[in-house]
Every structure is written in C-alpha cells, then in structure tokens.
C-alpha cells in the first residue's frame, strides 16, 4: 500500500495517459488497475477519465459479430453452381440468332455461314447454279462481317465520347482506378 501511494505521487500525466491507453487496448494487468483505482480516489478528473475509458473498453468488448442469415449463406454456397451454369450458357450463346445483334456475334455468325458454304463446296461437285448461289452467300456473309465491324467501331466511339463528355462535365474522374481481383488495391488514409 505504501508503494502504491509512492507510485501515485510519481504518476505524472504521461504515465497516466499510458495507463489509460492500456486500459483502452484491453492490455491492463491487475497491478496497474489497482494503481488507477487508487488514483481515481484522490482526483475527480482522473476518475472521470478512467470511467470513460473503462466504459469504452467494456462497450468494445461487447460488440457482437454479425451473423449471416440462412438465405445469404445459401446464396453464397450456390455461387459455384450458378457460376458454372452461367459459363455453360455463355459458351453457346453465339449459336442463338437473337444474340447476333452485337458486333462480335455478327462476326461469328458470318464466319459460321462461310465455313458451312466452304464445307458444302468441298463435299460435292456443285453445278453452276450452286456456285452462283455460294458466291451470293459469301457476298452476304462478307457484308454482314463488314456491318458488324462498323457496328463495333461505332459502339467503341460512342462509349469513348460518353466518357469524355462525363469527364469534361466533371461527372467522372479523369483516371479510372485499375482493379485487379488477385491483388486488391491498397486504400488507406482516405477521408470518407
């Protein structure tokens, strides 16, 4: 007890602050706690600080981990299956004529038509009418291909124009952050 009183007299602001920090961090041992208790008995300002810190520590200790709902867990566990079926659908999407509206599918559709025409040509002896028809088909296929390239070109231009317009209007940042899933971007010291 005598030692504690002696310690108390020595306790300057810095050591008191350190002790409060340890209390806040949850690293305080019994001896330090006793010293603080003694200090609080003789100084009201100290007592108030200690109670604040103690209440904050207690509050932090009692904050709970949030539980995931059963629905969310089910959704998370379904990710692999959904992802795989989506990949399967994407793989054959180009076979669906409804998807041929986009430039890439136009090109694929045209290329498919050309390869079919060539295959027919190889496997049989065509007559003049068939040759004329094949030429016409190739002409159409090439026209589709050209159209699809123009369409893709126009889409790219439109997108660029929109972005430039937004940047100039101050609605979008000049530099878009690069995102790499495998190496998440380090973000710190930002004012949110």
């Amino acid at each position: 007890m005598k030692d504690i009183n002696k310690d108390l007299k020595k306790m300057n602001q810095q050591t008191f602050d350190d002790a409060i920090e340890e209390l806040l961090a949850g690293d305080m041992d019994m001896q330090q706690a006793e010293r603080l208790k003694q200090a609080s008995a003789s100084d009201q300002a100290m007592a108030s600080t200690i109670i604040d810190a103690w209440a904050l520590r207690k509050g932090l200790d009692e904050l709970e981990i949030e539980s995931v709902s059963a629905t969310l867990e089910a959704r998370l566990l379904a990710i692999p299956d959904q992802s795989q079926s989506q990949t399967r659908n994407n793989r054959f999407a180009w076979l669906n004529p409804a998807n041929w509206q986009t430039g890439q599918s136009w090109a694929i559709g045209s290329a498919l038509a050309m390869s079919l025409i060539i295959a027919i040509g190889i496997n049989s002896q065509p007559n003049r009418a068939e040759i004329l028809q094949a030429r016409e088909d190739i002409r159409i296929a090439l026209a589709y291909l050209g159209k699809s390239l123009n369409q893709a070109d126009q889409l790219t231009r439109d997108e660029l124009n929109q972005q430039m317009h937004k940047i100039l209007a101050g609605q979008a940042p000049l530099r878009q952050p690069y995102r790499d899933i495998d190496n998440p971007v380090k973000i710190e010291n930002i004012d949110l």
Binding site: I51, A55, L60, S69, E188
Partner: protein, 161 residues
C-alpha cells in the same frame, strides 16, 4: 475446389459480413458486398490453386465497402453526426452504448475505422491486421491508439460531482 470454397464460406462468412455491416451500417448492402466478395473468391479459385487467405477475403471486402461509401457521397455530402445522448456513458443501457459505438466506429475515418473493427470487434492479431491493411506493426499500433482516442473524445462525458 467447390469443397474448399464451401469451407471458406462456412469459416469466414460471419467475419466478412460483420466487416461490411460495420463499415456500411446497412445490412442489405453488406449482404451484397459479402456475395460480391465470395464471387470474386470463386473466380480466383477457378484461376489458381493457390491457397486463399482470410486476410485476402477481408481486404477485398474492405475495398468493396470503401468503393460503395465513395459512391454514396454525392447524395450525402456530409457524414451524419452521431446522435447526441444526454445520458453519461455509464448510465447508458448496454444496447444503447452498443448502438452508439457502432455509429461512432462507422463515422471514424479510414484506416481508423477498419483498425477498430479488425482489432476490437473481430479480435485479429496486430500482425494479421498489418498484413490486411499493408501497414507496419508500429503503424497499426499508433493508428489504433489514435482511433481509440477519437472514440474516447466522442464519448458522452461522465459528470462527476
């Protein structure tokens, strides 16, 4: 691979979700972020056999939350002030203090907010936190000290008479 993924879901889903809830203060958004994070995990697992660490998951979650908070900004120009309580802290009911603290943590600036969540809510080691936030050990300790000081400063004062 799917078994490994499911194990990661079972093992870490609550931590991922908790981080998102504390950062966003919106359960629906936190659910979306949790789902996005696990989708990224699955895509990563498909590409590589490398073991995915818990730290990576929490890092991705944190970045996704920060992105969402940034997008929110134009609608809410200012961070809402924490509701003022008349009661001194030791008179607060436990759930009232918990709610107050959650708001206070959400209103901390980065990286203080993440540090308090990782250390005081999720009980990660200093070393793990340093790895997740790519900070040195001493930076973690100093910033945690500052974060707690800020929480303390916001705490309703005890009236001693």
């Amino acid at each position: 691979m799917q078994q490994r993924f499911n194990a990661m879901v079972k093992q870490h889903q609550h931590r991922v979700f908790t981080l998102a809830v504390y950062m966003l203060r919106d359960r629906a958004e936190a659910e979306d972020v949790t789902q996005e994070t696990y989708l990224k995990l699955w895509q990563r697992m498909e590409k590589t056999q490398e073991e995915v660490k818990r730290a990576w998951l929490l890092q991705v979650t944190r970045n996704a939350c920060i992105d969402r908070i940034r997008k929110r900004r134009p609608q809410t120009n200012e961070v809402p002030e924490i509701e003022d309580h008349r009661d001194p802290v030791f008179e607060m009911e436990q759930d009232q203090l918990g709610k107050w603290l959650k708001d206070a943590i959400t209103n901390l600036k980065e990286p203080y907010r993440s540090l308090v969540i990782f250390r005081d809510v999720q009980q990660h080691s200093y070393l793990e936190i340093a790895e997740m936030l790519e900070l040195s050990l001493s930076q973690v300790k100093i910033n945690l000290y500052r974060a707690r000081q800020q929480l303390r400063a916001k705490l309703p004062k005890v009236e001693t008479t």
